[in-house]
Amino acid sequence: MKRFSFFALARNALTGHRNWAQMWRSPEPRREYDAVIIGGGGHGLGTAYYLARNHGMSNVAVFEKGWLGGGNTGRNTMTVRSNFLREESVPFHEKSLDLYQGLSRELNFNLMVSERGMITFIQSSAVNRIALQMANTMHIYGAEYRMIGLDEVRRRIPIFDPSPDMRLPITGAVYQPRASMVRHDAVAWGFARGADARGVDIIQNCEVTGIRRDGGRITGVETNRGFIATPRVGMAVAGHGSVVAAMAGIRLPIVTQPLQAWVSEPIKPILDEIVVIRSYYGTYLMQSDKGEIVIGQGCDPYPSYAQRGTFPIIEDATTAMLEVFPRFRRLRLLRHWAGMLDMPYDGSPIISRTDVPGFYVDVAGSGGFKTTPAAAYTFAHLIARDEPHPLAARLGLDRFSSGRLVQEGGVSANR
């Protein structure tokens, strides 16, 4: 791997930037691998990277049916945070933030981590109670999450101007200083480059169409590039979990739902923090590095693989935004898109063995960009050792039969 540096930049400037090396190879797939990862989003590529880096497994391939990061990784709104309710969730998400903080240096690739903080408005006593509970749980794990008054809200968000007759008046807020924005494409590309440098084969335009088993055990995958033998398959396909798991004869506790986001034309810097309105179910917005106001809300309320969203969500979120920031009524919408999320029944990610020996599943769930490094780190551990990593031990499928769910349903809108 050619390292990126100031000198590399200067050297390549001399030759008109025509001689930069490819960031990763595009090899012919081998006939056999020690492990195959299905899905070239952040989760799959990160898993391959950590298999090689932490477990010395480099005879590994990642199969991606489209292009790297073309699924949800390249569609999300880039927010990473760890304000969660359950003791299973907080350390897991904190691990992700820790990893994100070091990854730019480790991968020699700028993930543009921007620690701008998240402010969640409190508009009901129920949310007030949940926010306090979250703050206490997080405090136990050393994560800062604190209630702030309207004075501090006004100081941090000078354009805060809620309409006096709004239906659910804002009485305060809760603040996570460490919440950040991270450049999403860079996460996929950085992990891909790091995995490739350690010998992992990344194969794009390669769809897995079947999973072959012999006496229950995994023997390989069928692809549009032929059969590839492998004893271990890790699935990280976000919006296609049920489709791929069905190839191995497995049903999962998930429903595939669209999630939308839309951005305005770019404007001058006006909003530093990530802001959540009608918290935990509601609308969130922030300003991107390019100056666009990025707006999102919860999932569309019914299953769909259409990768496009329904209008009532846009209308609802816009209403919420204008109640607090009436000046945004003159913004013009520039782009709108949707991704597809596999929503687990309890709202928490799934990182698990399955009833088929050698077949492992990672379901990113509702807010799986923030979990990318931690999920990849622990999923690689699971695949390499057939043992769950302690941080993800409670995120296995067995929680559904034991009844020990990790309920985070209420945070689904609050990417």
Binding site: H240, G241, S242, V243, A246, R251, L252, P253, I254, V255, T256, P301, Y302, P303, S304, Y305, A306, T310, F311, P312, D342, Y345, F400, S401
Partner: protein, 86 residues
């Protein structure tokens, strides 16, 4: 925006309804007799089919009726099929 065909009110906007999930889900007739795996599968797992799917809808902000339709989860085409429960 989907138009959901309520058998009582006719086609209405999707935000008058709540989607009630897959219609082929069958509750085990004797829950005490089935093993944990079967019960867990009934409670939590879904086929989550990519394509034509039978599903329950509830006209919660209308007449209150529960009924089933067939909807394609890729194209969003809706059919009411014979045998639909209304």
């Amino acid at each position: 925006m989907l138009l959901i065909p309520c058998p009582w009110c006719g086609a209405c906007n999707e935000n008058e309804f709540i989607c009630g999930g897959e219609s082929d889900r069958k509750r085990p007739t004797d829950p005490a007799a089935v093993d944990d795996k079967t019960w867990t599968d009934y409670l939590y797992n879904s086929t989550n089919h990519k394509g034509m799917t039978g599903e329950w809808w509830w006209h919660v902000h209308g007449c209150g009726k529960w009924f089933t339709i067939r909807r394609d989860t890729v194209t969003h085409c809706i059919e009411s099929a014979p045998g639909d429960q209304t």
